[in-house]
C-alpha cells in the first residue's frame, strides 16, 4: 500500500514537472506569436549568469556534503563510544562498589594491619546471636555452643559450633554463612572460621568448630547502623560430593 502511494506521488511529481516544461515552452511560442517578441531566449536562460549560478549551487552542495560528513562522523563516534562505555561499565562499577562498599561488597583495604591497630569501641555493646542449619540431606547434628555473645566493635571474639556425625560413614560437609541485618554484613569480618572448605567428619565423630571474628570499629560511625544492636550469624552446612569445590564468593 505504501509502495503504490509512493509510486503515485513520484508519478504526480514527474507529470507536474513535464507539464510545467511544456507550459513554459507553450507560453513562449504562443506569446511570441502574439507579440512577435523573442522571449524564447529569455525563457531558456531563466536568469542571467547561469554558469556562475550553477557553480554557486555546486559549492553550496559541496559545503552541505562536507557538513553532513562531519556530522555523520561525530554521530558514528558517539555510537562507538556508547558501546565501549557499556563494556567498560562492568569493571568500573565493580571498582566503585569496592571503593564505597555499597551493597555489602568487600571493602578494598581489609588487611591484617587493621586487626593489629584497631581500638575497641567500649561503649557500643553488640549482641551476636548464633544460628546453625543443615541441609535436609546432611545428617549431621550441627549446633552452636553458645546462644549469644556480647562483643564491642574493634575487639576480636571467639565462638564455637559443634558438629556430630551420627552415621557410620564418613561424611564431608561444606558450609556457608549469612548475616542479619544485611547491611551489617560489611562490618562483620571473620579472621578464621570453618566455612567454604570441605570438612570431613569420621563416623560417630564430634568436633568443635571455632569462629574467630571481629566487628569493624567503623560500625560505630555508620549512621545506618545506629539502631543495630544485635547481629545474627547463621551457618548452614551442606553435603559435599567428593572432589566438588564451592566457588569462593566475591570477585577474587
Amino acid at each position: 500500500m505504501l509502495l503504490s502511494f509512493a509510486i503515485r506521488k513520484c508519478c504526480a511529481k514527474h507529470c507536474v514537472q513535464l507539464a510545467k516544461n511544456l507550459n513554459v515552452r507553450g507560453l513562449a511560442t504562443s506569446s511570441s506569436q502574439l507579440f512577435g517578441r523573442r522571449t524564447s531566449q529569455r525563457f531558456v536562460n531563466q536568469t542571467r549568469g547561469a554558469k556562475t549560478n550553477r557553480k554557486k549551487t555546486q559549492n553550496q552542495e559541496d559545503d552541505w556534503k562536507q557538513r553532513n560528513k562531519t556530522a555523520l562522523t561525530y554521530i558514528a563516534a558517539a555510537g562507538v563510544g556508547m558501546i565501549g562505555l557499556t563494556y567498560a561499565s562492568v569493571p568500573l562499577y565493580r571498582l566503585y562498589c569496592q571503593a564505597t562498599g555499597l551493597g555489602g561488597t568487600a571493602i578494598a583495604g581489609h588487611d591484617g594491619e587493621l586487626v593489629e591497630t584497631m581500638k575497641p569501641v567500649k561503649d557500643r555493646v553488640i549482641k551476636v546471636t548464633f544460628n546453625a542449619d543443615t541441609h535436609a540431606s546432611l545428617q549431621w547434628n550441627f549446633r552452636p555452643q553458645q546462644s549469644e555473645i556480647y562483643v564491642v566493635p574493634g575487639e576480636t571474639a571467639l565462638a564455637f559450633y559443634k558438629a556430630r556425625n551420627p552415621t557410620d560413614k564418613p561424611v564431608i560437609g561444606i558450609s556457608t554463612y549469612s548475616i542479619v541485618p544485611f547491611d551489617a554484613g560489611q562490618y562483620f569480618n571473620k579472621i578464621q572460621c570453618f566455612c567454604f572448605e570441605e570438612q570431613r567428619l569420621n563416623p560417630y565423630e564430634e568436633v568443635d568448630m571455632p569462629v574467630f571474628f571481629y566487628i569493624d570499629p567503623e560500625f560505630d560511625e555508620d549512621p545506618r547502623m545506629a539502631w543495630v544492636d544485635s547481629i545474627t550469624l547463621s551457618y548452614t552446612f551442606f553435603e559435599a560430593k567428593d572432589g566438588q569445590k564451592l566457588p569462593l564468593p566475591g570477585y577474587s
Binding site: G103, G104, T105, A106, H110, G112, V115, E116, M118, P120, K122, D133, Q145, Q146, S147, E148, I149, Y150, V151, V152, E155, T156, A157, L158, F160, T176, Y177, S178, I179, F182, G185, N189, K190, I191, Q192, C193, F194, C195, F196, E197, Q199, R200, L201, N202, E205, V207, D208, M209, P210, F212, Y214, S234, T236, L248, P249, G250, S252
Partner: protein, 94 residues
C-alpha cells in the same frame, strides 16, 4: 538463607575468611581450653571482653598443635593482652 528468585533485591554475598579455614580438631587436643573458655563465658553472662585471655589461650593451643598457622598474637587483636604482662614484668624488675 533467603529464598531463590529474589532477582531485584540485593543478595547477601558471603566473604571468605581473612586467614582461611580452621583445620578440624579431630582428636580434641584443645578441648580443655575450649571448655575453660565456655565456662568463663557462662560465668560472665557471655561477655566476650572478660574472656579474652581464655580465647587467647585456646588459639595458642591450636598454634602449638599445628591446627592453626603460627602468627604473632598482636596480629590477632590481642595486643592489649600482650602489653599487660610486659608492663608487669617491667614493674617486677627494677
Amino acid at each position: 538463607m533467603s529464598t531463590a528468585m529474589n532477582f531485584g533485591n540485593k543478595t547477601f554475598k558471603p566473604r571468605p575468611p581473612d586467614k582461611g579455614s580452621f583445620p578440624l580438631d579431630h582428636f580434641g587436643d584443645c578441648k580443655s581450653f575450649k571448655e575453660k573458655f565456655m565456662r568463663c563465658l557462662s560465668d560472665n553472662n557471655f561477655d566476650n571482653s572478660l574472656c579474652r585471655i581464655q580465647s587467647k589461650e585456646y588459639l595458642e593451643c591450636r598454634m602449638e598443635r599445628q591446627l592453626m598457622a603460627k602468627e604473632p598474637l598482636e596480629k590477632l587483636g590481642f595486643k592489649d593482652l600482650m602489653d599487660q604482662p610486659q608492663a608487669q614484668n617491667k614493674e617486677a624488675n627494677p
